[in-house]
Symmetry: C2
Subunit: 115 residues, 2 copies
Amino acid sequence: MSAGAAASAERGVDVTLAALADPVRRRSVELLADRPHRAGELAAVLGVSAPVMSRHLRVLRTAELVEEEHPPYDARVRVYSLRAPPMRELKGWLADAETGWAEQLAAFKDHVERP
Amino acid sequence: MSAGAAASAERGVDVTLAALADPVRRRSVELLADRPHRAGELAAVLGVSAPVMSRHLRVLRTAELVEEEHPPYDARVRVYSLRAPPMRELKGWLADAETGWAEQLAAFKDHVERP
């Protein structure tokens, strides 16, 4: 990965974490992981008003965690679905942190077990 | 997992995400994944003042992402290290979302490939 790509992935993870750090948005991601939903369905399940839901969906779209589509039968309907790349980036970040952590524990184990 | 334990894990992931949704705190976690650090070392590497670092470390400790220890040779020194459980919970949440997502893609594939 180039330095530019790495920096952009870093920014991406920050944006993803900020977007997910809200219970309504995180719960939206859980619902969208099951199947695409309309904004109104999400608002009903999550117990928030349409304008509040719309604000949360805008944050999720800006973070590229969800995408909006209009079904061919009705251009006024907006259906939201989950996008995988930001979740994959966050997973990669956690895996990297875990690698450092595992090496640290292995080094500590070596140290205490040294005769 | 009992309903109570599940609800507490849910709250835990919210707290973890809120704690990580700040570049200084996320970078602190990366540094601590490598090895334990003193607050002063973290502040120096991250280019923040001691009071700012202290505030961020308090958030990370409240989220149980880091723990503070005093080395036996000097009770005034505070050394911070990473705690694995919140990272593991977040990883579990991502894996659950990914499972739903993978099932959705498989169902879609079945649907489009149906003769």
